[in-house]
Symmetry: C2
DNA sequence: CTAGTTGCAAATCATTTGCACTTGC
DNA sequence: GCAAGTGCAAATGATTTGCAACTAG
């Protein structure tokens, strides 16, 4: 139940927060933009303000409940935090997003940061390309 | 000379284009945002419109003269194309940007894309962290 | 009760665009 | 001279914020 997750991170249980969390958990996709979530909620008859979706998502991000990913075309998507880290491969035609994790890449990043004297706080690796389906379709 | 580079990619030699290119070549930093370039030009007495800086940079990007990088805080920087590919490590405190290239990471990315049936068109790897200098300063 | 939350509309920020004017070739 | 390029100001799209009304604990 969503209420528990909200309580755990010290957020009041409110309608909007529960709704957004529910979409992230059982929505049409694991990777959704604020507007996706907003539209999805409207389509299911749940009334909410877009500004609230943004506010709630930002709070969730701070609370580490979700992770925000910025893609090169300038829009960002949110994804429920499953605890695991992974990177993304994005189809530039259809927008499909797939996840991957490569320990070798992770290790190399650590090594590079250390070498250059940086303390890593975060990192993002996005591969952009054309997926098999779109490649056939043209 | 900048005029040659412009001619090579089939762009008319104009004042604004020459100015922007000059800043990218001899400016204060290899990684500059449109606004950085705009402000730098104003500060050196060169008059230009911000919209023109954006237009020119977009043309340069199309002409493969420069590469645009999108960072997680939502702003992008432009960098003169030296032909080589590399990724970035960004200090989240002072904004310092350093470059690195790791063949192992590159190879793994290729492998992953192939495995998932994607044709890579582009990719970006950004490591965010705190540089040695900022770490001391607090 | 009252601090935290929401909705709405207006504000911001980075970037783009329409259009009349200017300039390179 | 004319198509291409530029400046300016207004438009855009994504996201944020001010504020008055609402609600969870």
């Amino acid at each position: 139940m969503e209420t528990a997750e909200l309580k755990n991170v010290g957020l009041k249980i409110t309608g909007p927060r529960t709704k957004v969390l529910k979409v992230l958990e059982n929505g049409p996709d694991r990777h959704l933009s604020a507007e996706d979530i907003y539209n999805y909620l409207l389509s299911t008859g749940d009334d909410i303000a877009l500004a609230t979706v943004y506010r709630v998502l930002t709070q969730f991000e701070t609370a580490k409940l979700v992770t925000r990913h910025h893609f090169a075309d300038g829009h960002s998507v949110f994804e429920l935090n499953a605890g695991d880290h992974h990177d993304h491969i994005v189809c530039i035609k259809c927008g499909r997003v797939e996840e991957f994790f490569d320990p070798e890449i992770e290790a190399r990043q650590e090594a590079i940061a250390q070498e250059k004297g940086y303390k890593i706080t975060d990192h993002s690796l996005n591969i952009y390309g054309i997926c098999a389906k779109c490649d056939q379709t043209g």
